[in-house]
C-alpha cells in the first residue's frame, strides 16, 4: 500500500493517472455545464441583468447633469460654495443652461430630477427656461425677478447634488428624509410614508405567515396521516385553488366579502347584521389579509406536508409509551421534527407576501396597500429611480432575513417538498 502511494500510477497506455482522471472528469463537467447553460443564460438575461440595472437606476439619474453642463461644470470647480448665497457666475451658468434646455427641450427632464428632492420645481424650471434667453446681467437679480424661489438654498443644494449623475438622494427620499435649506434632515411626520409602509408590509406579512401556519399545520398533518385515497382527495382540494388563476381567486374574494357581497347578504338575511351596518371586509387591510392568506396557503401546506409525511408514527408511540400526554408528545416530539417544514413554509410565505402586488392592489383599497403597490405607483409615474431605491431596500431587507434564517435555522435544513 505504502509503495503504491509513492510511485506515480499510470493508466494502461502510459498516461499519468491524475491527468487521465482530470481529462475524464473535465468532459463530464463540461457536459453537465452545457446542460445548465440555457437556464443560466435565461436567468442572466431576464433576472440578474434587470436586477442589476434596477440597482444602478437607484443610484443614477442624469436628467439634470446632462441638460445643465455649464452649471454642472461650475459646481465641480466650486465645491465649497454657500447655497444660501450663490455668486453671480453660478447664476450666469444657470441662466445659460436654462436657455439651452429651452432650445434642446430638456427642461422637463432637468426639472423632474430636481423635483424628486425639492417638490414643485418642474413649473419653476419651465418658467425659468422660457424667460432665460431674454434675461440680461446681472443674472442673479434678473432670475430672482422672474421667481424668487430661484434663491432657495435647498434648490441650490439639490442642483449641486444633481450635477453628478450618481447620487444616494433616492435612498434619502425612500427613508423619509427631506432636503431642507440646511441639507438633508428628518421629514415632517405627516410626510413620513415609506418607512411606515415598510414596517406595515413586514407586520402584515408576518401576520399572514402566522395565520397560514395555524391553518396549514392541521391540514398538512391530516394529509400526512390519512390513508392514500382520502389524502389524495384532500390534496386535490389544496392544489385546485393553487392551480387557479390568482386573479380569479382574488376576484372571488371580492364577490364574497364586499359590502353587497355574499357573506354580508347572508349575515343580513340571517338577521345577524342590520342592513345599514354591513361588515367592511373588502377594500381595506382585512381584505388584503384574508385574500393573501388564501392565496399563499399552499406554499405553507406543501413544505409542511413533505416533512410530516416522512415522520414515522413510531416516534409519537414511543413518546406515549414513555409517559407523555398527547399534548406533550405533540409539543416536544412532533413539532420539533416538523421545524424544517415550518421554517421553509414560513420563509416562502413571508418572502412572497412582502413582495405581493396584485392582491393588495385589487382588494386593499386605500388602507390595505403594501410597499410593492407604492413601488408600482412610482413606476407608473416614471419615478424609476425612486421605485428602484424602494425595491432595492426591499431586496436588502429580504436578503438580511435570509441571512438571519441561515444563521438561526440553517439553509440546508430547508425542505420545500
Amino acid at each position: 500500500m505504502a509503495e503504491a502511494a509513492t510511485t506515480l500510477l499510470t493508466t494502461s497506455d502510459g498516461r499519468p493517472l491524475k491527468a487521465a482522471l482530470a481529462t475524464a472528469q473535465a468532459r463530464a463537467k463540461r457536459r453537465a455545464f452545457l446542460l445548465v447553460l440555457p437556464l443560466l443564460l435565461f436567468v442572466l438575461l431576464t433576472f440578474l441583468i434587470p436586477i442589476g440595472y434596477m440597482l444602478k437606476r437607484s443610484f443614477e439619474h442624469d436628467g439634470f447633469s446632462a441638460s445643465a453642463p455649464g452649471l454642472s461644470a461650475w459646481f465641480a470647480q466650486n465645491p465649497g460654495f454657500d447655497p444660501a448665497n450663490p455668486p453671480e457666475e453660478a447664476y450666469a451658468a444657470l441662466v445659460s443652461d436654462l436657455a439651452l434646455m429651452q432650445k434642446e427641450k430638456t427642461t422637463g427632464m432637468a426639472g423632474t430630477r430636481i423635483n424628486y428632492t425639492v417638490p414643485g420645481t418642474i413649473s419653476l424650471f419651465k418658467a425659468g427656461a422660457r424667460a432665460a434667453k431674454d434675461l440680461q446681467p446681472p443674472y442673479k437679480d434678473a432670475l430672482l425677478a422672474v421667481d424668487p424661489e430661484w434663491g432657495m438654498p435647498r434648490l441650490w443644494r439639490a442642483m449641486e447634488a444633481a450635477s453628478s449623475p450618481y447620487t444616494t438622494e433616492f435612498y434619502q427620499v425612500a427613508t423619509d428624509r427631506k432636503l431642507g435649506d440646511d441639507g438633508w434632515g428628518r421629514g415632517a411626520d405627516q410626510d413620513r410614508i415609506y418607512l411606515f409602509l415598510f414596517f406595515k408590509t413586514f407586520l402584515v406579512s408576518g401576520a399572514i405567515t402566522l395565520i397560514c401556519l395555524l391553518l396549514a399545520f392541521p391540514v398538512a398533518h391530516l394529509l400526512a396521516v390519512l390513508p392514500m385515497s382520502k389524502s389524495s382527495l384532500l390534496m386535490i382540494l389544496v392544489l385546485l385553488p393553487f392551480w387557479t388563476s390568482l386573479l380569479v381567486r382574488t376576484t372571488a374574494w371580492i364577490a364574497l366579502l364586499q359590502e353587497q357581497g355574499i357573506v354580508n347578504d347572508l349575515l343580513v338575511w340571517m338577521g345577524l347584521l342590520s342592513n345599514d351596518n354591513r361588515l367592511q371586509a373588502m377594500y381595506n387591510m382585512t381584505g388584503t389579509i384574508v385574500a393573501m392568506t388564501h392565496v399563499l396557503l399552499p406554499f405553507m401546506i406543501l413544505p409542511l406536508y413533505s416533512v410530516m409525511r416522512v415522520i414515522p408514527p413510531s416516534y409519537a408511540r414511543a413518546a406515549r409509551s414513555l409517559g407523555a400526554t398527547s399534548w406533550t408528545t405533540f409539543r416536544r416530539i412532533y413539532v420539533p421534527q416538523t421545524l424544517p417544514g415550518i421554517a421553509a413554509g414560513s420563509l416562502l410565505v413571508f418572502i412572497l407576501a412582502v413582495g405581493y402586488y396584485i392582491t393588495p392592489a385589487l382588494v386593499g383599497g386605500a388602507d390595505g396597500q403594501l410597499i410593492s403597490n407604492l413601488i408600482s405607483f412610482h413606476m407608473a409615474k416614471s419615478n424609476w429611480s425612486l421605485a428602484a431605491a424602494l425595491a432595492a431596500m426591499l431586496l436588502a431587507a429580504i436578503l438580511v432575513l435570509y441571512w438571519l434564517y441561515d444563521r438561526l435555522i440553517g439553509i440546508d435544513r430547508l425542505k420545500l417538498g
Partner: protein
C-alpha cells in the same frame, strides 16, 4: 421460570378479539396470562396477530372484545401514557432532535422528576447498557447496535415493571443480534422485569424466553417452554415452524394410549407417539427432528421399525453433516449427524436403513 397460576398473573388477556375492518378477526379469542418476572415471547409468521396483541397491551390499539388486565387491573380504557409500560420499537424510535441523554431524560421529565434524580437515573441506565460515554451524541451518530442499546436503556430508565419489545433486533446483523440476545436476557434476569417480546425469529425465541407463545392465524398454537416447544410440538404448524422437521404422512393403524402404529402412504409401518390423533384410520402427519434420526443399527432401540433410505446428497456444514435422503417416497428427508472424528461418511447413492426412538416421532394432525 415463572409459573402460570391464576394467582400470580401479571398480564392477562381474557377472550381478547381484534378486528380492523369489522369483517375478519386478526386476533381470535386470545387467552394468555403472563407471570411476574417472566420472559414471554410471541412468535409467529407475519400477519399472525402477535404484533397486534403487543400493540393492544401497549395501548396503541383497542381490543374489539375481551379484557386485558395489568396487575389485575383492567386497562382497556387506560391511555398508553398512563400504563407505565416500557417499550422498545423495531426501528428504535429514538427522537432524532434530542441527544442520547435527552432521549433518556424524556420519560423522567414527563413524570416531573427533579434534575438531579434524572441525571442519576440516566447515568445508571446508560451504564447498564455500557453506553455511558455517549450521553451527548445524537441518535444519527450512533451505529445500529448502539441505537438499540439506547432504545433499551430508554425503555428501562423509568423503572417499568413490564417491558414490551417489538422485534427489537430485526435490523441488526447476525453476530450483533446474538450478542444483544444475551444482553437482553441478562438485563431481564438482573432487573426482575416482565418482558413480552415479539419476534418472527424462532432461534431468538428459543434462546431468550421462559415461555414462547406460537401464533398463527390469530390464535396461540402452543404456549410452552422452549424445550417443550422444540421437542414436543403439539400440532403440525408448531412442528413445521420451530426448527427443521421431517414429515411423513400416513394413517393410524393401531392406537394404544399414546403409542401409535402408523402406516405410511407407501405401505411401511412405523412407531410413533400419538399427540393430537384420536382414533384408528385417522390421517396423520408424523414429524421427526433431523438430529433424532439414526442410521446405525447399534443406536436404534430394540425392535424399532426401520425404513429403507437412499442417500441423495451430503452437505458438509462444519459442525454437522446434513444428509438428504429418499425415504418412503419423499426426496426431502433430512438427517443431521455430528461431525465427529469417527463419524461414518455417507456417499450419495448409498443404501442405508434409518430409524428413531418412538418418542421422537410425533403423530400430529394432518394440517
Amino acid at each position: 421460570m415463572a409459573q402460570n397460576g391464576p394467582g400470580d398473573a401479571y398480564v392477562e388477556f381474557q377472550h381478547v378479539q381484534k378486528s380492523y375492518d369489522g369483517v375478519s378477526l386478526v386476533v381470535k379469542d386470545l387467552n394468555l396470562s403472563i407471570g411476574k418476572g417472566e420472559f414471554l415471547t410471541m412468535l409467529g409468521p407475519s400477519g399472525s396477530g402477535k404484533t397486534t396483541c403487543l400493540m393492544m397491551l401497549a395501548g396503541f390499539e383497542t381490543a374489539t372484545n375481551g379484557e386485558i388486565l395489568l396487575d389485575k387491573r383492567p386497562i382497556n380504557q387506560v391511555p398508553p401514557h398512563k400504563r407505565g409500560i416500557g417499550m422498545v420499537f423495531q426501528n428504535y424510535a429514538l427522537f432524532p432532535h434530542m441527544t442520547v441523554g435527552e432521549n433518556l431524560s424524556f420519560p423522567l421529565e414527563v413524570r416531573g422528576m427533579g434534575k438531579d434524580e434524572r441525571e442519576t437515573k440516566v447515568k445508571r441506565a446508560l451504564d447498564m447498557v455500557q453506553m455511558g460515554n455517549f450521553i451527548n451524541r445524537r441518535p444519527a451518530q450512533l451505529s445500529g447496535g448502539q441505537q438499540q442499546r439506547i432504545a433499551l436503556a430508554r425503555a428501562l430508565v423509568f423503572d417499568p415493571a413490564l417491558v414490551l419489545m417489538d422485534e427489537p433486533l430485526g435490523a441488526l446483523d447476525k453476530q450483533l443480534r446474538e450478542h444483544m440476545q444475551f444482553e437482553i436476557k441478562h438485563l431481564h434476569e438482573n432487573l426482575g422485569i416482565t418482558v413480552v417480546y415479539v419476534t418472527h425469529d424462532q432461534g431468538e425465541a428459543l434462546t431468550m424466553s421462559d415461555r414462547v407463545a406460537v401464533f398463527n392465524d390469530g390464535r396461540i398454537q402452543q404456549l410452552a417452554s422452549p424445550a417443550d416447544l422444540y421437542e414436543r410440538p403439539e400440532n403440525s404448524f408448531v412442528a413445521q415452524f420451530i426448527g427443521e422437521n421431517n414429515k411423513l404422512p400416513g394413517t393410524i393403524e393401531e392406537l394404544n394410549g399414546d403409542k401409535a402404529l402408523v402406516r405410511l402412504a407407501t405401505g411401511e409401518l412405523i412407531d410413533a407417539t400419538a399427540v393430537n390423533v384420536k382414533e384408528k384410520r385417522q390421517k396423520t402427519l408424523v414429524s421427526i427432528r433431523p438430529e433424532r434420526v439414526e442410521f446405525k443399527p447399534s443406536m436404534m432401540p430394540e425392535g424399532a421399525h426401520t425404513l429403507d433410505a437412499e442417500v441423495i446428497e451430503v452437505i458438509y456444514m462444519g459442525d454437522i453433516l446434513r444428509a438428504v435422503l429418499r425415504v418412503a417416497g419423499s426426496d426431502d428427508f433430512v438427517m443431521k449427524m455430528r461431525n465427529t472424528l469417527g463419524q461414518t461418511r455417507l456417499a450419495p447413492g448409498e443404501k442405508i436403513k434409518v430409524g428413531w426412538h418412538p418418542l421422537d416421532a410425533r403423530a400430529l394432525d394432518p394440517m
